[in-house]
């Protein structure tokens, strides 16, 4: 098996949590491996991030280049192709950056590509057996990946738990001189911050969160009425925002808001990992879904198999009666 690399994403000189998770995943792929961190960037930011990563990797390959100050995946790919030896395994976090980098990198390295890996079962005879999900997490799949010409593997954030302790005193190897001129047909211009909305769902202790199961724009009122009766705010999953039924500021998830309520009522939400990624602080989750097999029931504390279009109004009525009585 080839050498294992972990691509480190970092911001303002601080390495992302995925840095440690990728090291963990590397050990699952090959318990005897000593994975090498790969880091790109520029200036004091990359120096600070490399120094911090050296405490968890024995070796850190650093590519410092002004053009890589912002991680434009097209340029990062061009840089990595210059330094990564043929047959290597490159691990990348499965996030908006990994989705951008991974597939093209695998083609350029002539390596296999496996995305969004949750677990590694075994590595045998030059093949890796890994677990991924399909259909928004409704089913899992074992996949078999031929490692003979290397692989690019994106790793689901949070899937590989990192044990405490185990520090390294890694060496930083400067690979910057091995990169030729970096040019790309795609140029980063700017980042526009998400608009803040009418309601700040990140501050509410109770969220009535609705998903595609709400079915129609007119039914949003059902959730709003319940929220009023409960003293809660209405949040939602992505399809509700895609359909323009609620503003983007109400979306919970990896491409929306991160919320930390005490109580989260997931109503007609299947429980995809991108949605769950936005729920932090271990709230009490009540899931209401008409499909008893919905993945949300695996993470909820309490589940109700029912139709939200009937259950929620009944809850509102009950709360109103209590308030009057």
């Amino acid at each position: 098996m080839g050498r294992i690399f972990a691509y480190i994403t970092h911001k303002n000189g601080v390495a992302d949590d995925s840095a440690l998770e990728l090291a963990m995943a590397a050990r699952k792929i090959d318990p005897s491996a000593s994975p090498t961190a790969l880091i790109t960037g520029w200036g004091s930011a990359i120096d600070a991030a490399s120094a911090s990563v050296a405490s968890s990797y024995a070796e850190v390959w650093k590519i410092s280049n002004e053009k890589l100050a912002y991680p434009n995946a097209e340029l990062v790919r061009k840089a990595l192709v210059q330094v990564v030896p043929a047959g290597s395994i490159v691990l990348v976090p499965h996030d908006h950056f990994g989705i951008d980098l991974g597939p093209g990198l695998s083609v350029r390295l002539n390596a296999a590509f496996v995305s969004d890996v949750l677990a590694v079962d075994a590595t045998e005879g030059g093949f890796l057996r890994a677990v991924r999900q399909e259909f928004g997490g409704q089913v899992s799949a074992h996949v078999r990946c031929d490692l003979s010409s290397g692989a690019v593997i994106t790793i689901r954030p949070g899937a590989f738990k990192v044990p405490a302790g185990a520090t390294q005193n890694g060496t930083i190897v400067d690979k910057s001189a091995e990169i030729g001129a970096l040019e790309s047909g795609r140029r980063y211009i700017e980042t526009i911050a998400a608009e803040s909305g009418d309601v700040d769902i990140t501050r509410h202790p109770i969220l009535v969160s609705i998903g595609r199961g709400i079915q129609d724009k007119d039914n949003i009122a059902i959730a709003e009425e319940l929220a009023v009766a409960l003293g809660a705010a209405v949040s939602c999953s992505r399809p509700v925002v895609d359909a323009k039924w609620l503003p983007k500021s109400r979306q919970v998830g990896s491409s929306g808001q991160t919320v930390k309520p005490k109580v989260y009522l997931a109503c007609g939400i299947s429980g995809s990992f991108q949605h769950l990624a936005g729920i932090k602080g271990n709230p009490f989750i009540v899931a209401i879904n008409k499909n008893p097999k919905a993945p949300i029931f695996q993470v909820a504390d309490v589940g109700i198999v029912d139709d939200i279009l009937e259950f929620l109004p009944e809850m509102t009525d009950k709360l109103k009666q209590v308030a009057v009585g």
């Binding site: 597939p103 259909f135 799949a141 074992h142 140029r187 595609r212 003293g231």
Partner: protein, 263 residues
């Protein structure tokens, strides 16, 4: 602008409860309702809006079998001028790279200024678009949620990154973009629209038509294969309330109250 949109027909999971087949090697497909992969539909709408502004045509293509013609026609009813089916027994069992290789051969035999895919197929891995771009040596951007045509040479695009923030890039044509849901509001397609395109011929192109080397696609070319499907053992799992609706309503209110809710 000549735009190609790569589309896929997938089981509609918002309509179906997925079950595993008895062998565990696939999902039970007999009674499934299929539809177009959701982001692909947004990609077609975006392409149609671009040609409405700048002129040109939209072509939709899929790698699949006869059954997949259905989604080509659906997107033609939306306004795509042409549908193309890339179909050959040799394509069966292709991994993402195989699909991208087939699409690449088709693109090279034609001329497109812009190629769109969806971000990810429901049964996919968010890979085909990025691979296709790398095979063609075109620039690529994923998770695109806005497109502005600057001129005939380049686009200004937004990418959705964490927290709903937007990364703005300029990208040269020709390029490949993977389109994220929510970028637009796809138009409605009625039965009438579908009937209107029912008799348009959809060319089917085989491996030899495309000049695809058979060893690079299908099972022969696949480095990644799915072994089986399974439903993982539930984690701790929710306590499922077994009462009637009224009882459950009361129970939930009580639980929420106990955790500091309900004024």
């Amino acid at each position: 602008m000549e735009i190609l949109v790569c589309i896929k027909r997938v089981p509609d999971t918002s309509e179906n409860e997925l079950q595993l087949n008895t062998g565990g090697n696939d999902i039970e497909r007999d009674d499934l309702v299929y539809s177009i992969n959701e982001p692909d539909n947004y990609a077609v709408e975006e392409a149609l809006q671009i040609v409405a502004r700048t002129g040109g045509n939209v072509t939709v293509a899929t790698v699949g079998g006869e059954d997949d013609e259905e989604v080509l026609r659906r997107e033609m009813a939306m306004g795509a001028k042409q549908g193309v089916l890339l179909s050959d027994e040799a394509f069966n069992g292709s991994d993402g790279k195989g699909i991208a290789t087939i699409l690449k051969s088709y693109v090279e035999k034609n001329h497109y200024d812009l190629i769109l895919t969806g971000v990810q197929a429901d049964d996919g891995a968010a890979q085909v678009g990025g691979m296709l771009a790398a095979l063609l040596d075109y620039p690529f951007a994923s998770l695109v949620n806005s497109i502005e045509v600057v001129d005939g040479q380049k686009l200004r695009i937004g990418r959705e990154i964490e927290g709903g923030n937007k990364e703005v890039n300029e990208i040269d044509l020709p390029c490949v973009l993977s389109i994220q849901t929510g970028i637009n509001e796809p138009r409605y397609v009625g039965m009438k629209g579908i009937r209107q395109v029912a008799s348009i011929e959809i060319p089917a192109l085989s491996a030899s038509d495309l000049g695809v080397a058979e060893a690079t696609v299908g099972e022969a070319g696949a480095k990644v294969t799915r072994i089986d499907y399974f439903v993982p053992a539930l984690g701790k799992g929710a306590e499922i309330l077994q009462g009637g609706r009224e009882e459950n309503v009361e129970k939930v209110i009580e639980l929420v109250k106990a955790r500091g809710g309900v004024n």
